[in-house]
């Protein structure tokens, strides 16, 4: 299903669309205020992009350096070529420890690998511990935003969900009350957990450690209580040196939510005494994306979500319309690389206004890549016969001045005579919420010819 078809569901509730649109714009505005507190903001973006350029140009070297140092730190390093292998590695660690219960902090990578479904199918208990993720896990939904996973739900919805799953008072919509209920519930889960799994924000080649950023402290609650820690990292998350964190920690939270830094920026280098630590380095299409010169830059992404918050299409169509693990502008340049046929409509879910590129903390040229993907989709003839035929015809008309003049005249005459139903009918998607303007009496060319003479 295409993005525009999926959007119909989201657009049914006008009030919710407005709320979604305004809330995300508010987050974007907070980002603006926060970024302007740093005079060297643009320089930082430049640096962040430059560091990632270096990483991507020498990824194999950095991965080996990371592996060597991580092993020296006492971390078990695993390599997973794809989602399947990643999930199998996690399962084998669980089995080795006879583990039953796993607590997880936010990891978009494990969403990408569909780890939860895999583990549940093998009989393990998986508990997402980020509040937003726990909410949607109760109702078996994927995140609709990578930083604010439950942004598509209203507090009334969440109150209903908690009433059913956590026996909270019916109709009590107070976020404070609901959060407290989740806190009590999850505290038990943390204490009972056999294994804690986290994502990784940054892996540091030079030191063989990694950084996890949260505001809730859920990653730390899980990891510091459980006897085993598994961290899952996409190979593009590497940075060369510790000092580079200075750049990224200044950019990440300011870009994501407008706060100067996440409340917890946790650095893991060695397991605590008696604990076991694993890191899984995952490819799952990343080396292939690296091979595409025009789209290589998309791997610089640090998953702040700023491009979603600013995107006029994302804000008004919701995360689910994208039907992809990462929605929004960045997802629309990553997903076609994974499955072009399935995601062929995503590069068109954009006005190409460029706002995504303007806010991107690592300066990914997102809107240009969206445009590039459109060329690929057209070359592969995946964009539908209707569009292809109309574009071929349009190209013919626009290439021929006489044909253009003639058809222009014809259109101006016929549009005023033909019935409105020609535009506003169910077969014409364009006409659903639009009317044509009244046709002008003459073309500019005719007007100019006439007025220059007089």
């Amino acid at each position: 299903m295409s993005h525009s078809t999926n959007t119909v569901t989201f657009l049914k509730d006008n009030k919710k669309v407005d709320w979604h649109n305004e809330t995300l714009w508010w987050v974007r505005s907070k980002r603006d205020v926060s970024s302007k507190q740093i005079p060297e903001w643009e320089q930082l973006r430049e640096l962040a992009s430059g560091i990632k350029d270096s990483v991507l140009s020498n990824l194999a070297g950095y991965l080996e350096e990371f592996e060597k140092n991580a092993i020296a730190n006492g971390i078990n390093v695993h390599w997973a070529a794809d989602a399947k292998e990643h999930n199998e590695i996690v399962t084998s660690i669980l089995q080795k420890h006879n583990a039953q219960k796993l607590v997880k902090s936010k990891s978009i990578l494990t969403e990408e690998c569909h780890l939860n479904e895999h583990l549940e199918a093998h009989g393990f208990e998986v508990v997402d511990t980020d509040l937003g993720e726990r909410i949607i896990q109760f109702v078996r939904q994927p995140p609709s935003h990578i930083v604010m996973p439950a942004i598509h739900l209203k507090k009334e919805d969440i109150s209903e969900i908690f009433h059913e799953h956590l026996q909270t008072e019916k109709g009590n919509n107070d976020p404070q009350y609901l959060t407290e209920a989740a806190r009590q519930h999850l505290r038990n889960k943390f204490i009972e957990a056999d294994i804690a799994l986290t994502g990784v924000n940054f892996g540091i080649a030079e030191t063989g450690g990694f950084v996890v950023c949260t505001n809730e402290g859920n990653a730390d609650m899980g990891v510091h209580l459980a006897p085993v820690h598994i961290a899952c990292m996409g190979i593009e998350k590497l940075i060369p040196k510790l000092e580079h964190l200075g750049v990224y920690t200044r950019l990440l939270a300011r870009s994501a939510t407008g706060q100067p830094i996440t409340n917890y920026t946790s650095h893991f280098h060695r397991p605590r005494s008696g604990q076991e630590m694993h890191i899984i380095l995952v490819d799952n299409g990343r080396t292939e994306q690296l091979s595409r010169e025009k789209f290589r830059n998309s791997l610089k992404c640090i998953r702040c979500g700023a491009c979603m918050n600013t995107c006029p299409i994302y804000r008004r169509s919701g995360g689910y319309s994208y039907d992809a693990t990462v929605p929004g502008p960045i997802g629309s340049i990553l997903s076609p690389g994974v499955d072009l046929k399935k995601h062929q409509s995503l590069p068109f879910a954009s006005t190409l206004c460029g706002s995504c590129s303007d806010v991107c903390p690592v300066k990914i040229n997102i809107h240009e890549q969206l445009y590039e993907w459109r060329q690929v989709v057209a070359d592969e003839k995946l964009d539908g016969a209707g569009k292809r035929i109309s574009m071929t015809l349009a190209a013919k008309v626009l290439a021929s001045p006489s044909l253009y003049n003639m058809l222009g005249k014809l259109a101006r005459k016929s549009l005023s005579l033909l019935p409105k139903s020609l535009i506003n009918n169910p077969l014409n998607a364009w006409g659903k919420q639009r009317d044509l303007p009244a046709p002008p009496k003459a073309s500019f060319k005719e007007w100019y010819a006439k007025n220059r003479k007089s």
Binding site: D53, A81, I135, L225, Y264, T265, F268
Partner: protein, 191 residues
């Protein structure tokens, strides 16, 4: 072929030209580190108590912990009747602890982030599991921004964390709630 060889091979066969790393220049920082540090923390729902002597610090700790029965600290000089760290068998023993008092290695003015290596946390879980986290920071340790902060970390601990405020969430309709999983309250004693 192992996945490791396959992944590294896929990357190497592209034959990309290694690009140099950019130099990070020295950026200007606030002239009044203490004021900036305090403002950053207060904006993030942290109470800051400024002290000028050890007596003042002790008085502040006493005042902050007066209501609690269960307090744990790595600083017995400041609070003597706390739970003995040595008696903690496993981290979950700390689940009912009301307050934790620890020292921060240094503070970062631009965002209030305080570096807590595991040696200062005592137990890795401590700063996260207590209800009220009290962190003592010496004003002479303050640095301007995160670049200076990372330069100041000489020895990388097995675990270390920058803490900038109490545990918080805005996952329900973007309404801010303090105390998601970890501390519901944070106090910084600046001395």
């Amino acid at each position: 072929m192992s996945s490791r060889e396959k992944m590294l091979g896929n990357i190497r066969k592209l034959g990309l030209e290694p690009k140099p790393l950019p130099e990070i220049p020295a950026f200007e920082v606030s002239k009044d580190l203490e004021a900036t540090f305090t403002t950053s923390l207060e904006a993030n729902h942290v109470t800051v108590i400024s002290c000028r002597s050890e007596e003042e610090v002790k008085a502040a700790v006493a005042e902050q912990t007066r209501a609690y029965q269960q307090v744990i600290t790595t600083l017995p000089d400041l609070y003597s009747s706390g739970i003995d760290l040595a008696t903690v068998k496993k981290p979950s023993d700390l689940r009912y602890v009301e307050a934790g008092i620890i020292k921060g290695a240094f503070g970062t003015a631009e965002n209030g982030a305080i570096w807590v290596p595991e040696s200062l946390a005592g137990i890795r879980a401590l700063p996260f599991i207590v209800v009220h986290l009290i962190v003592v920071v010496e004003r002479k340790t303050l640095v301007g921004n995160m670049h200076h902060a990372y330069k100041k970390i000489e020895e990388i601990p097995g675990f270390g964390v920058f803490i900038a405020g109490p545990s918080k969430t805005a996952d329900i309709e973007q309404s801010l709630v303090i105390g998601a999983h970890g501390p519901k309250k944070m106090t910084v004693i600046l001395c």
